[in-house]
């Protein structure tokens, strides 16, 4: 939880950022031992200095983006376990942290398998369901918004998500489409429209399903929460994030599909732009509210279709960047840092990122060339990345050491640098993990 101080209105973006980060840094933890407490404070203090781009002893190595599956796979856990057996992951996770003493907590994303089963979730397949047990979870691309629905979306994005999108991707929640439009709830008699669906059998059956799903979710969160608390109690801090996408990627990844969105740039550019615009205030509101609810000081963007190979710089600047920038600037005003996970490469987009105010971003790179990143961005923004997954999976320990060493040569003296992987990998070796974690301690 984050409670805004009374003088919030008078605070500058940087002061607001400080309040949010203080709140995160000082969140109460019940430590296992005084030693764990000292370690935790040292680690979170260093991470905080990096976020503030203030002098500190060394960069950190953060495995959360790359090693999140390896930390349990190394003890024989598989994809199905990560989706269904959250208790089972606890032992291996605690063991990993004890053994490796990483700078930050690393654990798999919490996928609620039983909830996904109950809701008949369509946009993913997962281990223990349609994928082999070995694998975790995979997106299934689809056209969940038709080309002629752009205007419906733009007229009321929230209504579209609730009554069109959700019924399409979770058939168990189909009856949501029966809900009235909320602007109509203005006078007493409108209550009839509002409550009517709740009296009908299909809607009531859905509510039963939702309650079951809620119970299952609570069980999972209980297990995951307890594990998380134990990891923190043993001395390992984690960064708080709310996951988000750019307006263009919501429309592209989630609603229209890759081919759909990319051809829409020619077939219905104005509809596409209008939909991105309409989504901006809705998205800002959603991220700010989430940050207040759970106290996360940063929003984590997974970035897809604005990468170098997807579109030209002119298309990027027309379709992708403006509405995304609006969202980031609004979050900046609210003191929320934008953590950009930049998949693929952004060699041509660095100047755009450089337009953003100082300390508003953490730029986490996958395959972007890091030399220009150093030059163009590292004085203004926090930098993370870009140890290749291919190296972690199939390289030698010496090769990992050499790659991380080069990154240290480049960024060792940057105001804020986080050694991190360019993308996740299922498997590596303990030796390579150790080389990665130790690389920042030279």
């Amino acid at each position: 939880m984050f409670v805004r101080p009374d003088n919030w209105k008078e605070l500058s973006p940087m002061e607001r950022r400080k309040v949010r980060l203080d709140n995160w840094q000082n969140a109460p933890v019940e430590f296992m031992s005084p030693e764990a407490e000292a370690n935790y404070k040292e680690r979170i203090g260093r991470l905080r200095k990096i976020y503030d781009m203030e002098p500190h002893d060394r960069p950190i190595a953060d495995g959360f983006m790359g090693a999140n599956e390896y930390v349990v796979r190394r003890k024989g856990m598989n994809g199905k376990d990560m989706v269904y057996n959250h208790e089972k992951l606890r032992e291996p996770l605690l063991e990993f942290h004890n053994e490796f003493q990483p700078d930050t907590a690393v654990s798999p994303l919490p996928y609620p398998g039983k909830v996904m089963d109950l809701l008949n979730y369509q946009t993913y397949i997962w281990g223990g369901q349609k994928l082999p047990d070995e694998l975790t979870i995979q997106a299934v691309e689809g056209e969940y918004m038709m080309a002629d629905e752009y205007r419906v979306f733009a007229a009321d994005p929230t209504d579209f998500w609730l009554k069109k999108y959700i019924p399409r991707v979770m058939p168990a929640l189909g009856p949501l489409a029966m809900l009235t439009e909320f602007p109509r709830v203005s006078e007493n008699v409108d209550l009839i429209d509002m409550i009517l669906p709740f009296g009908l059998p299909p809607f009531q059956a859905m509510l039963q399903t939702l309650m079951e799903a809620g119970n299952e979710l609570m069980k999972m969160l209980g297990a995951v929460g307890q594990t998380g608390a134990m990891i923190a109690a043993s001395g390992f801090p984690s960064m708080g994030f709310n996951i988000v996408k750019t307006p263009f990627d919501y429309l592209g990844d989630t609603l229209r599909g890759t081919k759909g969105i990319l051809t829409d740039m020619y077939r219905r550019p104005n509809d596409l732009l209008a939909a991105c615009e309409a989504y901006v205030p809705v998205l800002i509101n959603a991220v700010v509210n989430a940050s207040d609810r759970n106290g996360a000081p940063a929003a984590l963007y997974v970035l897809h279709k604005g990468a170098d190979s997807f579109m030209s710089q002119a298309q990027f600047e027309k379709f992708y960047w403006p509405t995304w920038k609006q969202v980031m600037l609004a979050l900046y005003e609210e003191g929320i840092t934008s953590y950009l996970f930049i998949e693929g490469s952004y060699n041509k987009r660095l100047q755009n990122l450089a337009e953003m105010p100082e300390k508003s971003l953490v730029c986490h790179f996958d395959q972007t060339e890091m030399g220009p990143v150093k030059e163009i961005l590292s004085d203004k923004q926090i930098i993370a990345g870009n140890v290749p997954a291919s190296l972690m999976a199939t390289g030698t320990t010496d090769e990992v050491r050499a790659y991380c060493g080069n990154l240290m040569d480049l960024f060792g003296d940057a105001p804020g640098y986080i050694m991190a992987h360019g993308c996740y990998f299922e498997n590596t070796t303990d030796d390579k993990m150790r080389a990665f974690i130790e690389s920042v301690k030279r």
Binding site: K259, L262, T263, S309, Q315, T394, N427
Partner: protein, 208 residues
């Protein structure tokens, strides 16, 4: 050859492309002429892709325009005259991986540059690559993959091709594939993009 049609295609004016095609046909133009105009337009788009002026949207759209035009032409032509091909290539995304956007672009560019490409689609098991090479007599195989999970299927596919004694050159590429993975899989080459795929293929047919 209709410059108007070429321009419409390279400007991505989809509706005009269909209109002009129909008008040309009504005016007595031969389907072959129209195909040649399409080919010329594709070459322009291919060049723009190489020089970084065209990207995925243009290639997808160009592909869709070509399908639409050939749907119009098909009933009117017996069989498109098969032009000489530089060589035969079998290409697909390996087992367990369904990323196809990049693969489609590689196929598009190879095709444009005069190769006869058999596209096996996505999630292709090793045995299917072997079968396709045996059936087509291809001398080059391209494996696309975007996942770390694709490393082993790639390695297995390379091994299967070799075990079956097939004398093919194998190139790999896609998202998390790099030189490191070429080494791991035992493929002959790694290509960073579709232009690299074309360059490799051209080099290999010259050698053989």
């Amino acid at each position: 050859m209709s410059q108007e049609l070429i321009d419409a295609i390279t400007d991505m004016r989809e509706d005009d492309v269909l209109r002009i095609t129909n008008e040309l046909l009504d005016g007595g133009a031969s389907p072959l002429d129209i195909l040649n105009a399409c080919k010329a337009a594709m070459e322009v788009i291919g060049q723009r892709f190489e020089t970084g002026e065209a990207f995925i949207p243009e290639l997808i759209l160009a592909g869709e325009m070509m399908t639409a035009v050939s749907d119009i032409l098909k009933p009117r032509m017996a069989e498109a005259a098969a032009s000489d091909k530089l060589g035969k290539i079998v290409l697909g995304t390996v087992e367990g991986d369904i990323h196809d956007i990049a693969k489609d672009i590689v196929v598009f560019m190879l095709d444009l540059n005069g190769f006869e490409v058999t596209d096996l689609g996505v999630d292709v098991p090793a045995a299917k690559f072997v079968e396709a090479v045996q059936e087509t007599g291809a001398t080059i195989v391209g494996l696309s993959g975007f996942l770390t999970l694709a490393y082993d299927p790639m390695k297995e596919t390379v091994a299967a091709l070799r075990e079956n004694g097939l004398n093919v050159k194998i190139m790999i590429g896609g998202g998390q594939i790099d030189e490191q993975i070429r080494d791991y899989t035992g493929a002959d080459a790694y290509g960073r993009d579709a232009m690299a795929a074309v360059a490799l293929a051209k080099e290999w047919v010259k050698e053989s």
